[in-house]
């Protein structure tokens, strides 16, 4: 601190007190929800070595979000690293007032700066009807602002902003990438949305590779890079439905004008999940239509372009910390362009070779 600087005046004191005050306001809403409806469900999840305790007030929300997460369940024993309080505001009679236009000024990566500081952050996903608040001392509040069921996208990958903000404190980041592999190693498939990552991930799954994600996985650069399965959901395009085992429950939704079909990966392919693995390589897929698939080295710049910007834009709360984590990890993994040919078995064999090799 500059010793010549005047002490903060009343206005500055009000501004610096806002994040904690807003968090307390939201905490009071959670307390009302719990008092009104009771704690309906409590579950401990293990993610990247951290223990998260999710507590739900009222019925409904837990049943919607836990199917994508309950493969991570731990026996509740020791105190958690993080406790998330989760509720639907209107359904529990305990809404949080929506952030005002002033609070939304300068919003970046869905984080509201006026009510965020080094300890607290507020993530407002208006399009999703979700408000998340985190206190980096170990608690978070996840409030759904609209009554009724969640959009399927949120059901398939719930609480992204809060998980990511919490994981960042441990040097981990949610990456926008599919991830497949074997117990010896994982391969991340990175690139823009609709570049074929999901379909390729499910092709790998159907061919016997293990699965971590088709869209969002957790990566770390602390020590040797690792990747983790966070959500067990997977998606198929209409033209790839033949990859799904017969009788697999599928739920359709529209993304970018295209109908996709969502399912739980290990319901279709029992035992397929790869909870954690050494992250061996990043591949940037491109569908060529040629008969042969092949791997070509990708430059550091190409690898960065394929992973970092899309992760920052698709994962709320990424920010500069997330960029650092992903760059640090990219410095330690091999990076390739994957020209995807017309023979899926050959493509899968290339990826398996990478996962098991070096």
């Amino acid at each position: 601190m500059n010793p010549d600087a005047p002490p903060p005046g009343p206005f500055s004191q009000i501004l610096t007190a806002l994040p904690a005050a807003y968090y307390r306001e939201a905490e009071a809403a959670w307390a009302r929800a719990a008092a009104n409806c009771g704690i309906s469900r409590e579950i401990d999840l293990g993610i990247a070595g951290l223990r998260f305790r999710l507590r739900f007030a009222g019925e409904g929300l837990a049943a919607q979000v836990l199917p994508a997460l309950d493969h991570l369940a731990l026996v509740p024993s020791e105190p958690p690293d993080w406790t998330f309080h989760c509720w639907n505001g209107p359904a529990t009679g305990a809404p949080i007032p929506r952030p005002t236009s002033e609070m939304r000024l300068g919003s970046r990566n869905e984080c509201l700066p006026l009510v965020s500081d080094g300890r607290h952050s507020v993530f407002y996903q208006e399009w999703l009807g979700a408000l998340g608040l985190i206190d980096r001392r170990g608690t978070a509040l996840a409030c759904q602002l609209r009554p009724g069921p969640l959009p399927l996208y949120e059901e398939a990958a719930p609480f992204r902003a809060l998980f990511n903000a919490a994981l960042n404190t441990a040097g981990c980041q949610i990456a926008h990438a599919a991830a497949v592999g074997t117990p010896r190693g994982s391969i991340l498939l990175a690139g823009p949305p609709r570049s074929g990552k999901s379909t390729l991930a499910v092709q790998c799954l159907a061919a016997g590779l293990h699965y971590q994600s088709d869209d969002l996985c957790v990566v770390s650069a602390e020590g040797p890079p690792r990747s983790w399965c966070l959500y067990r959901s997977a998606k198929l395009r209409a033209d790839s439905l033949s990859l799904a085992p017969p009788g697999l429950p599928l739920r359709a939704f529209t993304e970018g004008g295209e109908t996709k079909h969502c399912f739980l990966a290990d319901e279709g392919f029992p035992g397929c999940l790869l909870p954690a693995a050494p992250w061996k390589a990043l591949a940037i897929p491109r569908i060529t239509g040629a008969p042969e698939s092949r791997l070509r080295p990708a430059s550091p710049l190409d690898a960065m372009r394929a992973l970092v910007p899309w992760s920052v834009s698709e994962v709320p709360a990424s920010g500069n910390a997330g960029e650092k984590i992903m760059l640090r990890a990219l410095a330690r993994v091999r990076t390739y362009h994957l020209d995807v040919g017309t023979n899926p078995a050959q493509t899968v064999a290339l990826l398996k070779g990478l996962a098991d090799g070096f």
């Binding site: 999703l128 710049l301 920052v312 834009s313």
Partner: protein, 141 residues
């Protein structure tokens, strides 16, 4: 020789992500959404700044620098300050050893802004008849 603009420089870590990947520095400026790659001469300078070496020691750390090296280094550092990638700093708390000499190359960087909308982390997600979620196209597209 141009006077070096600042006695010490540092990387504003709160705004800059940077990593040496296979010998190539990649730098992302969080505020602007620009990203940069450096040639070998610039990479040497960046590594020295990151290590806390004082700019006045830069010229002597290059092997066989030409007479204009000082001017080129000063201009380059000033450009990096202008891009928000470096900022003036106090002397580092820990004494820094002399950097290992490297061959001279005029420092240059490539600046990219093609991912600016994504890297600025200000995506506007929309939900409309196309389903959800997708990023709103930037103005003018």
């Amino acid at each position: 020789m141009a006077k070096l603009p600042h006695r010490f420089l540092r990387i504003p870590e709160q705004n800059v992500a940077h990593e040496n990947i296979d010998g190539e520095w990649i730098i992302i400026h969080f505020e602007s959404g620009n990203y940069f790659s450096l040639n070998a001469g610039a990479a040497a300078l960046w590594g020295w700044v990151a290590a806390g070496v004082a700019p006045e020691r830069f010229i002597s750390a290059f092997q066989n620098p030409p007479p204009e090296a000082g001017d080129l280094i000063a201009q380059f550092l000033e450009t990096l300050v202008g891009e928000g990638l470096l900022e003036p700093a106090d002397a580092p708390a820990v004494a820094v050893p002399d950097p290992s000499p490297v061959p001279w190359q005029a420092p240059r960087f490539e600046k990219y802004n093609d991912m600016q909308q994504l890297l600025q982390a200000d995506p506007i997600h929309e939900v409309d008849a196309r389903g959800w979620p997708h990023l709103q196209a930037p103005a003018g597209e």
